[in-house]
Each structure stands twice: as structure tokens, then as C-alpha cells.
Amino acid sequence: MKIVDTFVVVENSLISVQYDTEVVDELTRLFTLWNDATYLFDFFTEHQNDLTHDFWNEITIEEAVERTRNEAKRLEKKLLEVAESGNTNAEITLSSIFKPLSKNKIEKELEKDKLKGDNRPSWLRIYAIRIDLNLFLITGGAIKLTKTMNDRTHTLVELDKLELVKKYIQENEEDIFEDYEI
């Protein structure tokens, strides 16, 4: 997997990565999938065993699909709202809604972060690298049904993407895209 481009989502606050395996940037891809009933139905059918965990209160596939889209709807509105307001209001910035990926790992620079949905508990995740108080680079996202990201292939890939993008930023040069692959 390579980074082919980065796209401005909201001027001076949100940027989204596009990989060579996709036709759109990550933020566009994620919200397209989270609004796609067939994709969600297939996803939860494949991960039905994870849904039977007590943590998710034995939710059905149909309920999980509806719940995901409803939560994605709210998350989409919130992200757009905060990204825009954060440029002028220092109290409500992207840093106030994104949290460090690991609780005990707060980094000074280029922190790996996550944004969760508003359900409690929530399985929606958007992953990003924090550049500044109100500037984040979106690396991907996932429906995380297990305790750690190491437990499932699709969340492990997101960890790799976070690392890939972080390296890309650290060594950002004009022709850097060709140099980073997973």
C-alpha cells in the first residue's frame, strides 16, 4: 500500500490520505461505506461472532447496521462542524474531539489519534495523525468490535496505515509517495 495523494477536506484543519488501493481519499471512502447498507450487512455477517460478545449486548445484524449508519451520520456532522469552527474558536478544535490512540501514549509531535462515535460503547473509529491543535491528517478508520486493534485483520491494517502516514510526514519531501509502502 502506498500513499498517492493527500486531499484538503477543510482548509487548514482536515486533510485526508488516499492510498493506491483506493479510488478516493480515506474520509470519503469511510463515510461511503458507513452509509452503504450492503457493505455493513456483509461486514456484520462476517463478524457476527464479535457481536455476540456481552459487551455489545447481543445486538442483531440488522440493528448493528442501522446503529452504525446513525452513528456515522452524527459523527460526520460533528467532524465537519468542529473542523470548521476550530479555525476560529480555540476552545472547540479537532484536538478536543480526537484522543490519543493509546491511553498511556501521549506524544508531543505527530501523535497517533482516534475519533470515536458518540454511542456508549462505540465501535466507530476514525484514525489520524495530529499535526497541530486544529490540523489532523486522516489515515483511515474502522468498525472496531474487539478490545484491541491487534485482534482483527481490518484493524491491524489501520495500525500499519497510521505508521505509514507518520513516516510520510516525518520525511515529507516532494517525491515521497513512492517511498512508503506497507
Partner: protein
């Protein structure tokens, strides 16, 4: 490399603009019918699974392309009522219901007995005043003659009447 330098390079090297903002605004603008379309898609997907029916078979029953079925099952299609009814028949499921129709203007409380009495008596004047048992005055103006004649056997009230109590 400092934060300002990273910011400057990232912004300068990024393309303008992500499709997401446009998509998000479209979803927001069309939220009401998208909600219904999505829920219908979920019900169809669930029925297909329960009945072990493929999307291709459903397309054949509906006399449409598999591509169209694939599209509507994503939950973002502005479906025609005809399509919805066909799917209901094929899968033997209920996808939409319409609330019972109501006969009275919901904004007002009508005295059904009084109105029935008025129509049964065949009062066909352009305006009228009637006393109720509780001495409230009901004034209906103007009254469309042809409407009253056509509907004289039914208690039907619509916005052609203005009413003061």
C-alpha cells in the same frame, strides 16, 4: 522538522478538494428520504438472507437489472412506490406503511355530532352559525356549495372552512 514547516508542506502538497464535504452536505440535505431508503435496504437484505434468495433472483422477479438491485440495496436510492410494492410482493414482507387517513383538520377540534347534524340537515348556505350544547359558537365560512353537495353524506372537513369557536 517543525510543526509550522510540516503544516506548510502538507497544505501546499495536498490536492483540493476531498469529495467528502460535498458528499456530507448532500447526505445532510437528503437525510429524510435517505433514512427511509436505507431502512428499506436493510429489510430487503435481511429477507434475502432469511429466504436464501440471491440479488440476481430478486432482479429477475422484479424484471430489472442486477446492477439496479445492487444499487438499491446500498440504501441510497430514491425508490419509486411501484418498485417498493413489487419487492413487498416478491419477498412477502411489509416495507412501508402509511398512517391511517384522517377526516378532520388536525389543527382544530371538531364536534363530530354537530357536523354530522349539519350535513344531514342538508344545510347548504354560503356561511352559517350553529350553537353547540356548550354554547360555543362554530362558524364555518365560506362553504363551497358543490363540495357540500358532493360530500353531503359524509363527515368530511378540509381547509375550505375557516372556523372560530
Amino acid at each position: 522538522m517543525g510543526t509550522e514547516s510540516i503544516k506548510a508542506k502538507l497544505i501546499a502538497n495536498s490536492k483540493k478538494q476531498s469529495q467528502w464535504v460535498q458528499d456530507a452536505n448532500w447526505r445532510k440535505k437528503n437525510e429524510e428520504w435517505l433514512d427511509i431508503s436505507f431502512s428499506i435496504a436493510v429489510k430487503i437484505l435481511s429477507a434475502l438472507k432469511a429466504q436464501d434468495m440471491s440479488q440476481k433472483t430478486l432482479a429477475e422477479h422484479l424484471d430489472c437489472s442486477a446492477q439496479y438491485v445492487n444499487k438499491l440495496l446500498k440504501g441510497g436510492e430514491n425508490l419509486q412506490l411501484e418498485t417498493i410494492c413489487k419487492i413487498q410482493t416478491v419477498l412477502n414482507i411489509k416495507l412501508i406503511t402509511v398512517p391511517n387517513s384522517f377526516r378532520y383538520n388536525a389543527h382544530y377540534h371538531f364536534d363530530e355530532a354537530l357536523i354530522r347534524h349539519i350535513f344531514n340537515e342538508g344545510i347548504k348556505k354560503d356561511s352559517m352559525i350553529a350553537n353547540t350544547k356548550s354554547a360555543n359558537i362554530v362558524q364555518l365560512t365560506p362553504l363551497k356549495k358543490d363540495y357540500v353537495e358532493a360530500e353531503s353524506k359524509e363527515v368530511v372537513v378540509d381547509n375550505n372552512y375557516s372556523m372560530a369557536v
